[in-house]
């Protein structure tokens, strides 16, 4: 350990440096190339420097429009983030005490994390297809049984009209905020749950006991003692929720219905677009991800810094 240590250290440092280059190098390459001049190509050399491809991007490329796809991804990402944080905290709380089915639920979450996304995606698509067939079938059945029949009553008319309404209006339950939303949750929730496990395993229950001894209700204990203490970890859960949803592609592939998310659009563009506009899109997408990551890390650092100076701010929310 003493003799060979420094040599191992330098060797491993070099490996780490190369790995970092391997991780970030390609992304930096397209970052540079996205500022390619209007006549430049997909590879080096740079043919001037311009914002041409960003203008091009904003004017809209692809069908459906890539800007709409970006908006879809942002909206879905925010919804998934919110749901992931709330559901993970609740479940994290639940797992602190034994309950029937705890093991089953835990292993289901792990299974959801590691089973192939294409299988999950197909499964959700099939399930929703069955829902759709069921609803359309019900509509047809109602129309067949109650429309234009002898001895109609108010009741049969109502059912008949319901059937007509289904036939006329119903298309699909599948969509960004139904099947797509659920598909994303099967991917983000296991991460959220694992983070909450790590948080509560290190959480000292004495704080809660003290709060309860002082007469706080369960909700007050959570709101004014536990929540402020676990807040930084919740930012971590939110970070996972948003970034994983924003970049999700495999589970979205069969589940978002007629609309597209940004990664799905991007994937389509890889085979059709042959100009640096795709790099501009890559730069914008990566910039969004980095903005979110930087904000999350910054907020966590600020919270920690304040704690170090003032001690925990648990309880201050009351004031």
């Amino acid at each position: 350990m003493t003799e060979g240590r420094s040599r191992a250290f330098y060797l491993l440092s070099a490996v780490f440096a190369l790995y970092t280059l391997f991780l970030y190098g390609p992304t930096l390459t397209i970052l540079v190339l996205s500022f390619q001049g209007p006549n430049g190509g997909m590879t080096f050399p740079m043919n001037g420097v311009s914002l041409h491809w960003f203008h091009n991007l904003w004017a809209g490329i692809g069908v459906p429009n890539v800007v709409d796809a970006l908006k879809n991804s942002l909206k879905l990402g925010l919804a998934v983030t919110l749901a992931t944080v709330v559901i993970s905290v609740m479940a994290g709380y639940a797992f602190r005490r034994p309950f029937k089915g705890a093991n089953l639920l835990f292993f289901t979450a792990i299974a959801s994390l590691i089973l192939p996304s294409i299988v999950v995606s197909l499964g959700i698509a099939l399930e929703f297809q069955l829902f759709n067939q069921g609803i359309s079938g019900l509509g047809d059945h109602l129309v067949d049984s109650y429309v234009d029949i002898d001895n109609a009553t108010a009741w049969t008319n109502l059912l008949g009209n319901l059937g007509i309404a289904i036939q006329d209006n119903f298309q699909t339950l599948m969509g960004l905020f139904t099947s797509g939303f659920g598909a994303h949750l099967t991917w983000t929730l296991p991460f959220g749950l694992l983070i909450m496990f790590a948080v509560f395993n290190r959480f000292n229950p004495a704080y809660e006991e003290a709060a309860r001894d002082l007469g706080a209700s369960s909700w007050q204990t959570f709101r004014h003692v536990v929540l402020p203490m676990i807040a930084p970890s919740l930012i971590g859960v939110a970070l996972f929720g948003f970034t994983l949803s924003f970049d999700e592609i495999a589970r979205s592939s069969q589940t978002v219905g007629a609309v597209n998310t940004l990664p799905l659009t991007l994937r389509g563009l890889t085979t059709t677009v042959t100009t640096p506009v795709i790099y501009a899109l890559g730069t914008v997408t990566t910039a969004v991800s980095f903005a979110v990551i930087a904000t999350a890390i910054l907020v966590m650092l600020i919270v920690q810094h304040r704690r170090r100076r003032h001690g925990s701010d648990a309880g201050r929310a009351l004031a």
Binding site: Y19, T27, T29, T43, F106, L115, G123, Q129, S179, I249
Partner: protein, 293 residues
């Protein structure tokens, strides 16, 4: 009263999680298994109990042995990618984790370096794959450099849209899944155990092999499960980096979905699921995941 309330609390607190997994994970898997025995018309899938879909999935696979049918070849190719990516990410991930835990002495530096390895995981995989195009393409940076250095006369074709680029991208995207669990296991190793090994005369390699690797076993197993399951089911990376020309188990399913052959896709999904579960089951014999949390 309070006792009663607190006894029921875990149930309603866990309910949203359980409901999401029931509707969007458990039920879909059951539906997939069921539909794999159904028949289909151009417009809808119809309940039935037939083995036709499995027969189609394994068309002529057993009669033509020892000649390999398309399905077997596809699975073999997917397993080949799995094995290669697993080996590379394992060695790379273990090395990085070892460096962070045993060579980096400052806690802050370790945290920052660990973050550096994790941040790309939170960015878009598709973009990270597209990023290789200007480097590996026929007129890419690698070919340009090699040619101007006089090492090659003609551009190398197999850098992009090849087995090579698929493995490269899969390693690029998934090494983090190896690093994090191994880092987690390794950072719990009591440093005095390592000291003791050296003090009693063990060499660096002996310590690594007899102390550190056995104690990192759980992390290695968890990382392996992640990487192997991701690669087994992959159809995005193999699609983009293989120029949509290389087959994989996941891509077969995707192609059948696009052709609206849902029951056949379901049958293939069940086969894939069974294979992945067997791999996981084998790896789980080495570890107890819950102990790691």
């Amino acid at each position: 009263m309070l006792e009663m309330k607190s006894r029921w609390a875990p149930y309603w607190q866990a309910a949203p999680l359980a409901i999401v997994f029931l509707i969007f994970f458990v039920l879909p898997l059951l539906v997939t298994v069921a539909v794999s025995f159904w028949t289909y018309t151009g417009y809808s899938i119809e309940p039935a109990f037939v083995g036709d879909n499995y027969a189609t999935a394994f068309d002529k696979c057993f009669s033509s042995l020892p000649e390999l049918c398309t399905t077997f070849r596809t699975y073999l190719s997917t397993l080949k990618f799995c094995l290669m990516v697993w080996l590379i990410t394992l060695v790379l991930g273990f090395t990085i984790a070892y460096f962070l835990v045993f060579e980096v002495k400052s806690n802050n530096a370790r945290l920052i370096l660990a973050l550096i390895t994790t941040i790309p995981f939170w960015t878009s995989n598709v973009i990270r794959m597209i990023s290789w195009i200007p480097l590996l393409g026929r007129n890419g940076l690698v070919n340009q450099s090699l040619m101007s250095a006089g090492i090659i006369a003609e551009p190398i074709d197999w850098l992009l849209y090849s087995d090579f680029s698929v493995v490269l991208a899969l390693v690029h995207l998934n090494t983090v899944f190896m690093i994090v669990p191994i880092l987690n296991s390794m950072s719990r190793i009591d440093k005095s155990l390592v000291e003791a090994a050296y003090d009693t005369g063990a060499s660096g390699w002996q310590t690594l092999w007899n102390v550190i690797i056995p104690l990192s076993k759980t992390g290695i197993a968890i990382g392996s499960i992640f990487v192997i399951t991701v690669v087994m089911g992959d159809f995005i990376s193999i699609g983009i980096m293989g120029g949509q020309q290389i087959a994989s188990a996941g891509k077969v399913i995707e192609a059948q979905i696009n052709a609206l052959q849902f029951p056949i896709a379901a049958a293939n999904a069940v086969v894939l699921l069974v294979i992945v579960l067997m791999i996981i089951w084998t790896l789980l014999r080495f570890v107890d995941i819950r102990k790691e949390l």
